[in-house]
Amino acid sequence: MSMIKLTVNGVARSASAEPRMSLLDFLRENLGLNATHMGCEHGVCGACSVILDGAPVRSCLLFAVQADGHAITTAEGLRKDDGTPGVIMDSFMEAHGLQCGYCTPGMMIAAHALLEQTTSPSDDEIHEAIGGNLCRCTGYAQIVEAIRLAGRRMKDAS
């Protein structure tokens, strides 16, 4: 077991884990942050996406020990300070960007990473950003619309 200290959504956290524990399991089980979803556990679905030091990555393909000393943002971090939905979450609801919601945290993390770069992404840029995230429900069109909407709202707000 090793003690892992990291920053999650701006807050310093620590817990111990065996080296074989994925960051995904660590977030959900040791830190009680269960917004990040577990889909395939081998890198193909994107449900487990988190931001590591500013870049979106799959948390099932990172051992928690590797995140020691690093900064993570999870879907919990996309809420407003008062706990209500942030602009990306709200846009997903508004534009019907989800049905069962399984893929949604990963989609929102991918959207967040994209909208940090540009608030008016092209459709190609949106497709590229969520290309590694599978959704079995929506057919993707409403997700693309939700991301476009969130971008517009962010631009209007700035």
Binding site: S2, E18, P19, R20, S22, D25, C40, E41, H42, G43, V44, G46, S49, L52, A55, P56, V57, R58, C60, L61, L62, F63, V65, Q66, D68, A110, A113, E128, A129, G131, G132
Partner: protein, 284 residues
Amino acid sequence: MKAASFDYIRATSLDHALSALAESEDAIILAGGQTLVPMMAMRLARPATLIDLNEISELAGITNRDGYLSIGTMTRQAAALASTEVNAQTPLLAKALSFVGHTQTRNRGTVGGSIAHGDPSAEIPLAAIALNAEIGLASRTGTRTVTARDFYTGPLSSVRRTDECLTEIRFPIWSGTVGVGFQEISPRHGDFAIVAVAAQLEFGADKVCRRASIAVGGASANPVHAAEVEAALVGKRIDPRLANEVSRAVDPILSPTDDLHATAAYRRRVARVLTERAILEAAA
């Protein structure tokens, strides 16, 4: 789908990694983890010790030196794809990278990890074989360089010894007017290729092809270099008829097999067509 237990070593320098590699029984290097960690989750890999290279900054970075673009083994695929230097000096690699996985896998996956792993359908080894990149290896007893065309010995296997670590991949920089083509058939964009073809051509002022590098991936145990096709292009002006004609010369060098994704016959057929298209793309 959880990895078996292992000892974890966070290497802090190349020397540290090389000593750990020499001293530990059954130790494996962990680079971006985009292939190794899924294999561990599926228990296809069960290393006793993982030596993590991710905190070694000296192994990442791109430098233009002595006619080569040297790419540190731990350079993320995303960083290489975003690099203006890669785009300007080694446009074939830049093009190949855009087919490798997705934003999220490229943010972790490394250039050297893909070369070390040596999947028969992987795009980065294909570009390395087309350009005959040089692969730098280090162990506690010394360093050596192996060219990409001599590196592989079969699917997922190479001449790398278990105590050796890749340190850098040197891609030759071509001067003059260079055109590149990269053609791939895959189930979805971002998936491994069923078949892919990489072509880099250099042209004189008269549009005559002066130099050609072409390789085919996914249709043999490792990507193969198409010397006969290259020879048939040099000294000629490229038009659709020539591209069609010379592309037939890839057939004898292929040894495709049937698998879940495609039959051997399909791979052969597609390899020829993609060669033709890659040549035309590079000449356009």
